[in-house]
């Protein structure tokens, strides 16, 4: 898919700013972009004790917030700064218990249509190749990209 090799339709800096403003809580997690190309995005969640659950594993909602960021970036990398794209559907499989280490979330686009986008994210901790979490997510893209005044919708 040649279009996936091209430049993203929003810069990494613009995306980061948008995501930080949109959801301050998620910013606190300290995530950072590792790759940001059109349809190919990787986001890293640095390990911190705040993420730790009893049992020595990483807090599940933190992984889901990480998936949010990665999938949102993935979609904007393909369609640009479209206001009002909303999540319609989200499917998560928890696969292996994450060790206390940095987590890398890597996303790819499965479909970009005029009305729906579907992306997939898979995560692993940096100390082990086994995937800890797999997420697919569908976004509805608004038909005309008007001036709705900011990020809307349920997802990030």
């Amino acid at each position: 898919m040649d279009q996936q090799r091209s430049a993203p339709r929003i810069t990494a800096e613009e995306f980061q700013e948008l995501a930080w403003q949109g959801v301050p809580f998620v910013r606190q997690l300290g995530w950072r972009l590792e790759r940001f190309a059109a349809g190919d995005v990787a986001v890293r969640l640095p390990y911190s004790e705040l993420l730790l659950r009893p049992g020595g594993t990483i807090w599940g909602p933190a992984l889901m917030a990480l998936a949010d960021v990665a999938l949102y970036g993935l979609v904007l990398s393909m369609i640009g700064r479209v206001e009002g794209a909303v999540t319609t559907n989200l499917s998560v499989h928890f696969l292996h218990r994450p060790a206390p280490a940095d987590v890398l979330a890597e996303g790819r686009i499965l479909r970009i249509g005029r009305r729906l986008a579907v992306g997939e994210v898979i995560m692993h901790t940096l100390d082990h190749p086994d995937p800890v979490c797999h997420v697919t997510r569908t976004y509805a893209i608004p038909p005309a990209q008007g001036s709705r005044g900011g990020l809307a919708g349920n997802g990030l």
Copy 2:
């Protein structure tokens, strides 16, 4: 299903304490139990401006945290205080944009087996009957309920 009419295998108070300890962040949301019977749990998320997203709707991850609480309560209401039940799979549909109002999450058990439990949650805002979010979630129940030292796993 007669067993669903019987008393829960953990009290509402015990569950609340467990959930508050387990995930302090989610406690901040101020949720409270409206019903807590075996296999029939309702949790209310009081509206606050902190939950508001640009566009006048409620922050998606807050809805998911609410679903977490409801489904976790649902499972414990059936199996008691089992340590180490982990989420394996989660499926979410966002249905209608929630208005700025209290949200009620109502859960029911679809399956309780020895090894797997499946629950369903549906949410609506108190000002409107349309569902805003539908969640199904699968838990793996540990084979022997040993002394693993606390809540483990990815989910709440």
Copy 3:
């Protein structure tokens, strides 16, 4: 939701005809409509030995075909004979092993929007109240209901 009490936007007979023509294979299963109101559809799959799997349970794909019929009927009961509605997403949980008996699939609409419809089906065998299968399904509804020449898309 008052609209769900009103008459369906396609008759039971029209729907049956459409579904039979569209997928002859599924017709062979011998399903029949038990209820067909707007947003409230029940379909019955009569038991036959052809449906039996080794182990004495019902063939999984037959249950999924039954879910197909019920969800397709559910959507058409709300939007009428719209050509080109396609399934975008499907989520299935197998809950209890079905006994060799008639299966009843009951569906309800979770969302009807201009562009997306979401429905839910739950099934049980007539000899037992435990649910055997739970399905959610999302349809994309074409923006203008033009003359595309017949049932399209992946689902039924």
Copy 4:
């Protein structure tokens, strides 16, 4: 994941025989294995007019039957001829409308545990790289692999 490079725990011929016996209907589709290694399975569905839907696209349930075969093979390639592995959960995204051409389904294992296995399949038609369908599927593996007398469960 080194174990995925090793020999499958069931041969391609044994798997094919098992799948043909288990579900004669699916055999009629004429699928064949293209690759069968441990954790890496590809299955090809030859195009035929029988698969065609009005609108010139391939019948959705045929794609799902193809996913069934690929995921079942994937799991058996890792655990061998275990009787009684049943599908607990299935998540499908239809991505692009398939053209009338052979379809290739490629699967990979996301998780093999003692009790649960999760696999992923992605399909494309041989004339185009865009994915037409993405499926994740969870299997419950029976605790002891006794003599239950044949393939059981809902899935293939």
